[in-house]
């Protein structure tokens, strides 16, 4: 029943998209406003695709195992929350989520951009609907979440236990709004090229969309990191895993994009650069999807792969790339930038160079193993050493530019009071020395990065003082930039001051190291709805401060599917996290215990949230000014 309803709704959407394309195309040739029917069709389109998604959610809730997707990813005993989250935790369901976001953004873009030329709006709509059609066909003919299975199984296979987590339930939707949200400015960019709409008002039509997708993308990456931190049990939060990289690549492009949009809006230059960035962002999003879904990358979270999926996305990707690039070549006119080397424009351009540098580095690191494998048969993996060596030294310079850039003036700038900057730099270096002196740790690179992070923080905070006097405060920028400075600072400090110890320990045994002692006091067996857990009680004692903490790491045995997972026990405080994982050693009384002390973890998360808050403030201001 649900299967038929879902399929009917999907077909309805195909028809709606085709009619929107047809009517919009006809409307292009007629003088006058946009045909009202187009608005209505768009509204129906968004509503019906959302309904379609609710049908799938319903199938998950009632555990309708006649649908293959439900059978493969759910189980009747699963808690309701994870039944619902299971809807988008798999390939088919998540593609439906893609289609929803494409449609909703298409509708919202149409109704919120009334001041822009009709031709541009209609073309954007047409291109966006071509994308929607592409995804609908993919869903219908290759990855249909409503495909049936016969005979109907009495029970489902269950959702991978490490995916049964609240953070992971919201991680994909957040990331998809970012990823897929970039489709709308891809469509707008292509429409702008076709309709020769290259005035600076073009930037107004897309800048909020860029910001929205950027905010969600950042949050999505953050939630993914938090999940990896407490679920994967390695104690890290970023692993340079290909799938993580896939989410980072469009983020770099988006960040570059909304910075150059500022220049475009203000000075009416960089038009083609903006267009290229719009195109790159969405192409990278689709490339990321391709890499993750086709199974050509081996990674912790690759979806069950099926080569035909890969072929489909690859064809889609190629059409997009070559279509947009040929159009761009045809329309490209050389722009003469008469840029003063010392001006805000140049500084923003420098930001873009940095972003492109990061983007290319991460892109190379991600696809290089694919290349060596295809060309030479060598299987290699590019790991953290590559990224850490190439990216981190550059971050130090990046932060310095980030501190100076916003203080520059448009067109022609003159740095006044260079002594102030030197003083700030000296202050930052002094603070850093104090950190080394009091906490006794040293690493050249981290210190370099910490100094520049402090430089950025101090100078951003001084901006607040200055701006308050003039009553002209760019809060959004200050919050985001300062928070980014803090983020790098906390990551640096965290890197220097983390402690990691690894022991095999018996019940009742105590191990001592530095100023800590760790004791395995007791073990407890508990039964839960869908798993059994061996819960350890470990007492961590700080000998200096006589403070004790009790941590309870778990070894979980899930029934459906039968899996063993290790749950880290984390004690978070504002200053530090204690992080403990425990695993059993077969046929022995020993447990392997890994203890980590990780300073300032909470502040790393808070900094990222503040970066997003900056973006939201900008969005709010933009809305108010309109």
């Amino acid at each position: 029943m649900l299967s038929n309803l879902g399929n009917i709704l999907l077909f309805l959407n195909v028809i709606l998209s085709l009619s929107i394309i047809y009517i919009a195309n006809k409307n292009l040739k007629i003088i006058g406003g946009i045909n009202k029917i187009i608005f209505q069709l768009n509204l129906i389109q968004s509503t019906s695709i959302i309904t379609c998604f609710f049908v799938l959610i319903a199938a998950f809730i009632v555990s309708d195992f006649s649908l293959i997707t439900v059978y493969q990813n759910s189980h009747s005993l699963k808690p309701l929350f994870y039944k619902i989250a299971g809807t988008w935790g798999n390939h088919e369901g998540s593609l439906l989520l893609w289609a929803i976001i494409l449609s909703i953004f298409s509708f919202l873009f149409l109704i919120y951009n009334k001041d822009h030329p009709k031709k541009f709006r209609l073309l954007t709509l047409i291109i966006q609907n071509i994308l929607i059609l592409g995804f609908l066909f993919f869903i219908l003919f290759n990855s249909n979440p409503f495909s049936q299975i016969s005979p109907i199984p009495s029970e489902g296979l269950g959702l991978n236990p490490i995916l049964q987590d609240p953070a992971l339930a919201i991680h994909p939707p957040l990331l998809y709004v970012g990823f897929v949200g970039s489709s709308i400015y891809f469509s707008a960019a292509i429409a702008s090229l076709i309709s020769n709409y290259s005035e600076k008002s073009f930037s107004l039509s897309i800048k909020n969309w860029v910001l929205i997708s950027w905010c969600f993308q950042t949050l999505g990456i953050l939630v993914g990191s938090i999940w990896a931190y407490y679920e994967l049990g390695w104690g890290g939060f970023w692993f340079w895993d290909p799938v993580e990289n896939a989410s980072l690549l469009p983020w770099f492009a988006m960040t570059a994009l909304f910075h150059s949009l500022i220049v475009f809006e203000r000075r009416n230059i960089f038009y083609f650069w903006v267009i290229i960035l719009c195109v790159i962002t969405f192409i990278l999003s689709v490339t990321g999807t391709f890499l993750v879904r086709s199974g050509i990358l081996n990674s912790v979270h690759t979806f069950a792969s099926d080569p035909t999926r890969g072929i489909y996305i690859l064809i889609f990707l190629s059409l997009m790339i070559f279509g947009s690039i040929l159009l761009l070549f045809q329309k490209y006119k050389k722009e003469n930038y008469d840029l003063n080397r010392n001006s805000k424009e140049t500084f923003i351009l420098v930001n873009n160079w940095f972003m492109m540098f990061y983007l290319i580095t991460v892109l190379l690191g991600t696809i290089y193993p694919i290349f060596t494998d295809a060309l030479t048969g060598n299987k290699i993996s590019v790991g953290p050493p590559f990224y850490n060596t190439i990216i981190f030294p550059v971050v130090a310079f990046f932060l310095l530019f980030m501190a100076l850039g916003p203080k520059t003036k448009w067109i022609k700038n003159k740095f006044e009071n260079i002594t102030i900057y030197l003083l700030i730099l000296a202050g930052a270096a002094g603070l850093n020395l104090a950190i080394i002196f009091f906490f006794k740790s040293y690493s050249l690179l981290s210190n370099f990065i910490i100094i520049s992070a402090l430089f950025l923080i101090i100078s951003s905070l001084m901006d607040v003082a200055k701006a308050l006097k003039k009553n002209k405060l760019d809060f959004a920028r200050i919050i985001s930039h300062t928070a980014f400075g803090f983020l790098v600072l906390f990551i640096g400090l965290n890197d220097i001051f983390s402690i990691e110890k690894d022991y095999n320990i018996k019940l009742g045994e105590t191990k001592k190291f530095e100023s800590y002692s760790i004791q395995l006091q007791s073990l407890d067996l508990k039964n839960y709805k869908n798993y059994q857990a061996v819960i350890g009680k470990l007492v961590i004692k700080n000998i200096n401060s006589n403070q004790t903490n009790i941590l309870n790491p778990e070894i979980r045995i899930y029934d459906k599917p039968k899996t063993l997972t290790y749950e880290a026990a984390i004690k978070t405080s504002l200053i530090k996290d204690y992080y403990l994982t425990m695993s059993n050693i077969d046929r022995s009384d020993y447990y392997n215990v890994k203890f980590q002390k990780k300073p300032l973890m909470a502040w790393i998360w808070i900094s990222v949230i503040m970066i997003v808050v900056g973006g939201l403030v900008r969005l709010f201001n933009n809305a108010k000014n309109n």
Partner: protein, 171 residues
């Protein structure tokens, strides 16, 4: 000039997509079960102290050989270690440990702390030799008989069942 740049860009993109296509059509699901009942490939692995080379001749000397791929950074390797220690006490079985992409000091500490079950210890610093055995993740172990035939492959940490299995096969 502009034309050349355009052609180069197109060429690069075509190349990337071409590679993606080739990767898609390649068999990337590393199914190594086909190795079972086949002869051990020729190999030359350097010993851990770099004093000698181990080859197939070292396998021929024993009734059964278990080649175990491990590293100090691999948590599941710790889990299977007690099983290996137990296996090391059985007769008729030679255990060759191949230390995979590891640092020497850390590997030594690992064995000092948990015990050394290996009759022969070799290393594969860049992971190239292990590829011949179809190793794509560690721990992984291969059971080989006197005639160089691969009898069994164990992907992931050895379990108690695997232990019983190995003992059974050897009987």
């Amino acid at each position: 000039m502009q034309k050349i740049i355009k052609i180069i860009i197109l060429f690069i993109l075509l190349f990337v997509i071409g590679i993606f296509y080739i990767s898609l059509t390649r068999d990337t699901s590393y199914n190594t079960s086909s190795l079972i009942n086949k002869e051990t490939p020729e190999f030359k692995i350097i010993s851990f102290d770099e004093s000698s080379l181990y080859t197939r001749d070292d396998i021929k000397k024993n009734n059964f050989t278990l080649i175990n791929f491990w590293a100090s950074w691999c948590a599941p390797c710790k889990i299977e270690h007690p099983i290996l220690m137990k296996l090391s006490q059985t007769k008729n079985l030679m255990i060759i440990g191949v230390n995979f992409k590891d640092k020497e000091i850390q590997a030594k500490t690992f064995l000092n702390n948990l015990g050394n079950p290996y009759d022969l210890l070799a290393k594969d610093e860049n992971g190239k030799q292990s590829v011949k055995f179809g190793i794509y993740g560690i721990p992984e172990s291969i059971l080989i008989n006197k005639d160089l035939m691969i009898i069994q492959k164990f992907v992931g940490p050895l379990s108690v069942d695997d232990y019983d299995n190995i003992i059974k096969i050897m009987e």
